[in-house]
Structures are given as C-alpha cells and as structure tokens.
Symmetry: C2
C-alpha cells in the first residue's frame, strides 16, 4: 500500500516526457509558457443536460504537485527505456536536468477556487512556467480536475432535484481508487454525507450507513428471521436505527416488523431514525410506508430511498408522490419532507456522460520578457482557442444574479467603458451589449493557487468549498439551473480579445499557406 | 502522497462497520460465512452489447488485503464517531476485537484467475471466513473487481474490432487514480500498450507516446513552424518518429511536412515510425495519408488513428476504408494492415455502460460444522441468488469450444451422468440437455487465491494474464464474440442445485408467510 511509482510524477503520459526532452534538446525547455485548463461543453446526460459545472479537484492536484518530482527511482526507470533502434530513449544530460529541475517549483498556477460554479470555455486553471515542466504537468492536472468536476456537477444536480438530504454511496461500483476523489467531489457538489468511511474521516464529515440485506439474511440463515435482525439493530443502535425493509417483502413484513421495533424504541425513549426502501416502485412504497408509519404514530420518521437514483429518477418519484399521496389521504408535501436519498452508481459514474472534456492548451509563450499569444488553427470553430494571457470576470446584474462570464485581456477591465460589447467565444458576429449601469459587480474569478513550489493559503476545509457552491448557485439564474433544457449561460470575449483571436487565426493561416 | 486513511481498511462503507459491530454484539461475528462475487449482466453500451466479460482486479485486491488492517490510527478514528444520541458509536470491546482480529488473515478466497473470460451469474470470487471480516471486505472487493473488469471487457472488444495494435491513453479524462487500474485492465483486456508511464513501469510494458499539438504550437509561437517541429522530433527520436500531422492542415501541410522529414530520416538510415491522425474524417484521411506515403515510397509506415475511438467507431472506419480505398486505387487490406489505434476516454470510462453490476452476496453460513445455504427472496427472478457453496465448471465441446458454464453443488461433478440436464439460473423450466460424449473437457474454474493472510502462488505477470484472455477468447464461439447482438452464452445450474434453489425459495416464503 506504499505509494508506488504509478502515483508520483510518472502519473503522466509518455509523450509529455518525450516532448520535454525535445524541448531540452532545442533549449526551449525553460522558455516560459502558459497553458489554460478549460472545458468545452457541460455534461449532456442524454435526455437532460447540465447548465453549469462545479470545479473540484484543485486541492488534490496541489497536494500531488507538492510531492511529485523526478527522484532517483523515477530516473532509474527512465534509464531503462530504449528506442526501437535499441538506444536509450532518454539521454543522461536530460535526466540530470530533471534530477535538479524536475519538480513543480517553477510553475505558477492561478485558479478559479474549488467548489465554484464554472462554465464552458472559461479558463479555470492557468499554468505558467518552464515549458518542459508545464508540459509534464498536463496529464495529471487534467486527470485530477476532470473527473471530480464531473461528479461534483452531477451531485449538484441531484441535490437540486431532491427534497431532502442526499447520501453518496457509490464506492462499490465506482472507478477503483477514483471512488475516493468521487466521494469528496460529491460532498462538495451537494451531497450531505457519504458512506465512504476513509474519505469521510479525511475531510471531516460523519460517514453514514445502516445495514445491508445480508444482515437480515444472516439472521434468517441462523433461523432467526427479519424481526429478530431488526431488534438486534435497534438494540445496538437505538439512536441511529434505520431499518432496510425490503429483504423479504416490504409491505408484508418489512414495514410491520420495523414498526414493532420502533414502538419498543419509543417506549425506551429513543427516536427511530428511519426505514430504507431499496427496490420496487419507490414512489408507491414511500407513500405506503408513510401511511403505515403515520398510523403507528411515527409521522416524523424519515424514509430513505435508494436504488439507481439520479436527478431524473428523483424528479419522477416526486411527481408520482404528488399524484399518488392524495389518493391515500396524504399530503404529498408531508411525504416529500421526510424523504432522504441514497445515490450510488449513477452519481459516481456520472451516468450518461462519463467524462468531462476538459483540456489544457498552450495559449502563450514568453519571448524577450513579453507574452506572445499562441493559437492552434482548427477547422472546428468550437476548437479555436482563446489566446492568452487573460483576465476572467463574472458580471452580476442589479439583482446580484450572475449574467455573464467575460474573458478579457490580462490588463483589461471589463467595465472600462459604459457600453460593453461581448462576443461569442467562437461564433463570429454573435454579440451582446451590456451597459455598465446594469452591472452591480464585476468579480475577478482567478486567484493565485500555487507559487514557489507551495500552495497559496491554507488547505481549504470542506465546509468552505460547500459554501462556495451554494453561494454561487444562489446567484445563478433559475433557468440555467433547470434539470432539462437549461438556458445557456453566456461566456464572452471582450472586443479587444476577439480581435486578437481573429488576427492570430488569420496570421496562422497565412504562415501556413 | 503517503497512503492516507482513505486507502487502507477504511476504504469501505460505513454500514459494513455497523453491521460488524452488531454481529460482534450478537456473537455472530466469527460465524463462518460464504459470500459469492458475481455480476448479473454483460455491459450493454446502447446499440451494442458485450457477449462476455473479462475478470480483472484480483491482483490489486489481494495486495490491498495483505496490508489492510485496523491499526491504531483506524481505531482512533472510529473512537471519534458518535451516535445521534451523542454516545460513542463503536464500543471499546468491539474495537479491541478489531485490534486483534481486524485483518483478512481469517478469510479464504477462491477465484476465477484474473484475465479469464467470465459470464453473468458465474461465481467469480468466493469468500469464506468470519462473518464480520467477510462483511467488511465487501465494499473494497466490489470496487477493486467491478471497474477493472468493466474496462478489460471494453478493451477486449476494441482489440477485437481493430486491425492492428491498440494503445490506451485515457488518463486525462479517466476517473482520478482509477485511471491506473483502468490502464492495467486495458493491457490485460487487449491493449498492446498504454501511454500511462507509471503503470507501464509497474507492470513491465513499454509506455508509448509521440507528441501533442502543443509541441507544434510551441514551435509556431516561436516563429518556427510545423516542419521545424517535425525536424526536431526526428532528430531527437530518429527510430521512434511518429508525427502528429493535424495541428494545422492534415493534407495541406501535415502529411507533406512529415514526408519531407521521413525522407531525411530514410537517407540517414532510419525507418520512420508513423503519422498520427487525431481529427477529421479518419477513414478518408487514412486513405489519403496512405496514398501520399505510398507515392513517397513509405508503404510500410504505420498510420495511427485517434479521437473518440471505440469498437463501433473502428468498425465504421474499417468499413469506410473498404469502400473508399479502391476509389483511389488502393487495396483496402493494405491500408488496414498499417493502422494503429489510440483509444482514450471511451475505453477508460466504458462509454455507454459506466459500471459493472457486480455484487457480493451471502450464499451460505456454517452451523455446527456444516454449510447451510442462504438465500434472499426477491420478486425479481434475475435477483434470486444461487445458494452456495458450489463448484464452477466450463464445458468444452468436441471442437474445444466453450459451450456452457455449469454451477454445481460443491461435491458434484457435472459429467457424473451420461445425460446432463442444465437449468437456466433463474427462469424455471428453461433447460438444455448435453451428453457426456459431446464434451471434450470439464474445466474447474475456481482456484485457491488467498489463504492464511497471503496470496496463493506468485504475483501474476502481465503476459500471463494477457495470454489467459487470448486463450479463452480462442475457445469462445464467434457468435458470442460478436460486437453487436452477440449470442447468449449459457450459464446453467445442475438439476441438484436447481432443486436446492427451489426448496430454499419455498422455505423462505413459508417462514415469512
């Protein structure tokens, strides 16, 4: 379980190393370069799409950058690699350079803080530093930002759809050790708790869990039965007694047995903590469970739902409860108020959209002390990058609602003029005009995150990250937050930046032609 | 980067710990129990489905089991947890038991060896041991088997669809550190190489990679251009020179520039290693690249394709080449023969089916020295488990092709009788009869994997695991291997086991009613 060679700086792609050696050979390796991390599209899950993203992963990336370096073990491994011609692939002088310079001490990162709402095309992390090491950073940076942001975005949507607390418990079908990063992202993105014990302890949130079918089965195998299993659970956990009622027959045995046990708990002065439904028609069963619990005087006992839940499944369940509860004389809101949601596989795998398309693109190189913007020509308009370096702003309207994110030149303030023309990031002629008087605040989004080999500021605590997401969500238009067909939130370029993008594309085509 | 609390034995779900304490309190914690790991359905990617699975992940699980234990740090963490009533959740006597017994020394595992082809309902890993520790093992076991098996299955399909070598390079959009387990699974499942440097070194396979668009861009930003970038690459890597030709304009500049550089390489006595196409109509561009390379005398230079590839995309490309190559006077087979495939996101996320539905079910408990089968009643027929303990067999027909996997009682041989009736694992009355004379071999699939706190036998080397998959694939019916609408491979129960399943379900219903 010691961290292996695969967890350190060699958690990267081979071509980063071959390119780094080439830069070394051409004396370009220490040339300052800037790479921007951004993503191009919000997750689209098929019949529903995200209107925003939540950025998560910076903390883990910075931790990794603090430790990752080309130590003796890494260099020995690289010495073993040979070319197809049988010669050593990495020359000794390059490895000597790596032995001294092969860490992230020379890199600077600015970043949109973890937990914030973000949008396509927005530079979320900006890396500046010696070309060779900035290049080597790419793969791990992408890995450590893309997946957690994907899960946090899904978690945010699930939390928005739910009428009560959401618990993450996707480890068992999660992507190997990625399940840990996924659980942390879920907690930041909107889940109240996770069942993952290690991560809960690491971030300082109470882990949550009840019991599995196997517990009831084990009692049955010993000839004891469901009721006895429930009694045993209540005896050991009188104040945390959530009973899983569907091992045998939810309405025929699970709920009646749970009520029997809850009555004993109540007599002993304890509040039962809930029942859990894990199969069948969850909306119907929730209504029936609520009825029976109400009748037994347990109107406040929570009902935990689980089983392939995601934001659409939850939405459907709540709609069905609206429909069905009145037929049994129940107030739908009273049923919904007591629901708790356990979400697993569909959250941790971001069901329907399994990867965020985040990229890390060279946007500028320093020459003779000045930044020269760089651009890749592409026939796909959406892939024409935004030249750097830039400043990144979020503009809020008079109501304090975010209305547009603006990418400007590094030394440009978006509210310099009374009338501001904003340009679509890649479609020509698509513009929008805002007046300075309509804007209540222009917030700079990028903050220094990494300087001189160390993180800037303290390691964030989870509650701070959760609060950031909630605060951003409160300032996001309700149409953008919609689960299906959300409004498109605008990310725009200033006129000056648009012109620069144009000129660079033209120049690149000219130099090629 | 030290392994944290989240990597050890607390890489589990909270309810495993609460159940373990309950078993301890009821003196059931050391009762021997058997859990079977199996999955219920092969991945279904939407318009195409897998006809088989590849089991991967056992090696990492056994490594983890060797180190994972409740040490002082873990126990201190558990002491901190409180119930809703404010009391300690885990009592000191339970923690004392964990301090002494809280490792996997008492567990025995039998398993279908890693790399083998497997099918739904087949017990792939069988765990026996004290109920409390067998229960705590569940979450991590599922996590460490489900995801790698999912990726290995996808890799096997992609390798089957491809006409040449397949390289994995999904780290950047892979699921955090899960990308390492994913890369290893891809290598076992059918990929020839991975770009993941750390994992390549760990398993002893050469990492592969070329260069990115950013290299060409960096040269362009310095006023040097694509040709100069290619020259530099060829100079540093004359024997591994694969050039990415689509940064500017694939046919207009990339291919001509590559040919210029290849000519110089040839003059210097080196064989160019290839061109890489990463965007556009890959089939069309492959044909055009082949034409131009042929014309320049480079008929053997490989063409690497990348960009959102999976088995269907590859199939489509190959069909289109069949169509298009003759129009330009090329033999399609000559084009296909030189293709190499780079596969990223869609492999490492198992695009279209992001999680294997593997479960770990209690199948038997020991009482007074005898195993008593256990069963969970379910209204969903597919979820009625197969009571244990069992033996698991693969029967091969006269051609040596696997024809059925048979689950039998532990002391039963599937070929005991001349005529064998095989039963569908959960649909009543669906049977098939085979005659002993039609069967060339009955192979027992489960092997001892873990005894007395240590793995049985040496750590497997990757080539052995890859060979297992290939050998199994060679003995699998071509219809089962089909990419779309594969034949359903039969997994069956013997009459004796079917009867037992029946009796148990009836008894469970009776005891409840």
């Amino acid at each position: 379980m010691a961290p292996g060679i695969a967890d350190g700086i060699l958690f990267t792609d081979q071509y980063q190393l071959t390119m780094a050696q080439l830069y070394f050979r051409r004396d370009m390796h220490e040339q300052p370069a800037q790479f921007d991390y951004f993503y191009r599209t919000n997750p689209d899950y098929g019949r529903h799409q995200a209107g925003y993203g939540v950025t998560v992963g910076l903390d883990g990336l910075l931790d990794w950058m603090g430790d990752a370096r080309f130590g003796p073990d890494e260099l020995d491994r690289l010495r073993l690699r040979t070319s197809s011609g049988g010669e050593r692939l990495f020359a000794e002088d390059f490895l000597e350079w790596l032995a001294i310079n092969g860490d992230f001490g020379g890199i600077e990162l600015d970043a949109v803080p973890e937990g914030r709402i973000v949008h396509p095309h927005l530079p979320i992390v900006v890396a500046r530093g010696p070309l060779a090491m900035a290049q080597i950073l790419e793969s791990s940076l992408l890995n450590q930002l893309n997946y957690p942001s994907l899960v946090a975005t899904k978690a945010s949507r699930i939390a928005e759809s739910a009428s009560g607390p959401v618990l993450e418990f996707g480890m068992r079908r999660g992507p190997g050790r990625g399940a840990n990063a996924g659980a942390r992202a879920a907690l930041i993105g909107g889940c109240d708790f996770t069942s993952n014990v290690g991560i809960s302890h690491e971030v300082g949130v109470d882990p949550q869990g009840t019991h599995a079918h196997s517990m009831v089965q084990a009692f049955m195998a010993l000839g004891l039965g469901e009721l006895e299993a429930f009694r045993a659970f209540a005896e050991v956990y009188p104040d945390n007694c959530i009973l899983l009622v569907d091992t045998v027959d939810t309405l025929g045995s699970g709920i009646p047995n749970a009520i029997t046990v809850f009555e004993a708990l109540r007599d002993a002065g304890h509040d039962p903590a809930g029942v859990r439904l894990d199969s069948g028609d969850l909306a119907y069963l929730a209504v029936q469970a609520a009825r029976r619990l109400d009748d037994a005087g347990f109107a406040d006992v929570p009902i935990v739902l689980s089983g392939d839940l995601d934001e659409l499944a939850i939405w459907q369940i709540l709609s069905q409860i609206d429909d069905e509860a009145p037929r049994y004389g129940l107030d739908p809101d009273e049923v919904k108020r007591r629901l708790v949601y356990g979400v697993g596989t569909r959250l941790i795998t971001s069901h329907g959209h399994g990867a965020l398309d985040g990229v890390y693109k060279l946007v500028a190189m320093e020459e003779k002390g000045a930044w020269v913007p760089s651009i890749k020509v592409s026939e796909t308009p959406a892939k024409v990058p935004i030249p750097g370096p830039n400043s990144v702003w979020r503009l809020y309207d008079e109501r304090g609602i975010a209305t547009v994110d603006v990418i400007a030149a590094a030394d440009e303030h978006p509210l310099a003029d009374e009338e501001i023309t904003l340009h679509h990031p890649y479609l020509d002629g698509v513009t929008r005009t805002v007046r300075r008087s309509e804007i209540s605040q222009a917030e700079s989004l990028l903050e220094p995150a990494w300087r001189r080999g160390a993180r800037v500021g303290p390691t964030p605590v989870i509650d701070e990250l959760r609060a950031r997401r909630r605060a951003d969500l409160d300032r996001l238009d309700i149409g953008v937050r919609r689960l299906v067909n959300p409004h498109v939130y605008h990310v725009s370029l200033t006129s000056r930046l648009k012109q620069l993008q144009h000129d660079l594309v033209a120049a690149a085509h000219e130099s090629v032609g």
